[in-house]
Amino acid sequence: MDRSGDMLRVAIWRSRGDGGGFAHYDVPREASQTVLDVVTYVQRRLEPSLAYRFACRVGMCGSCAMTVNGVARWTCRTHVARVADGDRLEIAPLANLPVVKDLVTDMREFFDKWARARGRFGGARTRRDDFARVDPASPARRAADAGIECIGCGVCYASCDVVRWRPDFLGPAALNRAWTLVNDSRDTAQRERLAAVAGDAGCHACHTQGSCTERCPKHIAPTAAIAGLKRATARAAVRGTLGAEPR
């Protein structure tokens, strides 16, 4: 193993009372070391009371996102070599979310917004019906596929300046989820969903700054999804069908 032998100087956010501050640790550098490896080393060897969250370690579960040197990232797939500033690494909880303890954030509001954006599939078929036939090459299905791999890590939400300015903004992940369902030909809750994602707290609040798209570890473009929602809601608003009951 290529052990470079030098140490990383790691600053990790620790909760204290209502606030907190950075605590400093020296962690040996390893080859192919991830930021999650560093946090795990600190928790197992140096600071057993350190709270952090992870599960799969392979970029599937979306639970290990943190702010690394000022940028929200999924830590299990982020190599230290790529993000360390020399030998320095600063690890903090995700922004725009309340901190439970240390590096653990409360994700309730983040996921509640998925529900508020009607992020739940609404179907009309039962198990006795035949399978719905969806052409994978159709433009709508392609649009849905482009956003469907979201793992709910919250990196986009933590990177969004609009969420920071106005906390009621649904945020990129919830709107991206809504856009995948708007493009799902089987879904039956379209009118309600468009009404839910329009307006001041919805897609119209987005300033198209693109931080979500730049930072999404799955290379999804919530900015494009939000632009799609703006088009769809505008069409419905002008036709007078936004929020109207289907006839």
């Binding site: 839910a196 809601t233 002008v238 007078g240 109207a244």
Partner: protein, 133 residues
């Protein structure tokens, strides 16, 4: 259609109705701003080319007026240009007033409407002056 949507909004609980009314308002504003932006993109391009031509050719004010007076094409083009500005600019300014000045949506809308009429009136008077004056 507008009435149908408003009636739907009114039929809901107050809070849900307000959210829906806001959604409809934002959706419509976005639509008209996008539509006017498409018109403006073309108008600005033609306008810039015209201005550059007029300046490089060294046309005097009299020479410009001689070309615009009685020109229906000039009047129609700049009439559309003015109307697109009158739609586009107030929508954007209302949004900025709401976000940066914390103006209430109703106040911002009223101010935007007043500005729209002002821009349209001043612009159309100017176009009229160039074509018929």
């Amino acid at each position: 259609m507008k009435r149908a949507a408003a009636a739907t909004a009114a039929g809901r609980s107050d809070a849900a109705g307000r959210v829906l009314a806001d959604a409809i308002r934002q959706g419509r504003r976005w639509y008209w701003q996008r539509m006017s932006a498409m018109v403006l993109a073309l108008c600005v391009l033609v306008h810039l080319v015209t201005i550059v031509y007029a300046v490089r050719a060294g046309l005097s004010a009299e020479a410009v007026l001689a070309r615009t007076r009685g020109s229906l094409a000039f009047g129609a083009f700049y009439g559309v240009f003015v109307l697109a500005c009158a739609v586009h600019v107030p929508i954007g300014l209302a949004r900025i007033a709401e976000e940066w000045l914390g103006m209430a949506p109703r106040v911002a809308d009223a101010a935007a409407s007043a500005l729209a009429w002002l821009l349209a009136a001043l612009g159309l008077v100017a176009v009229y002056g160039m074509v018929a004056g």
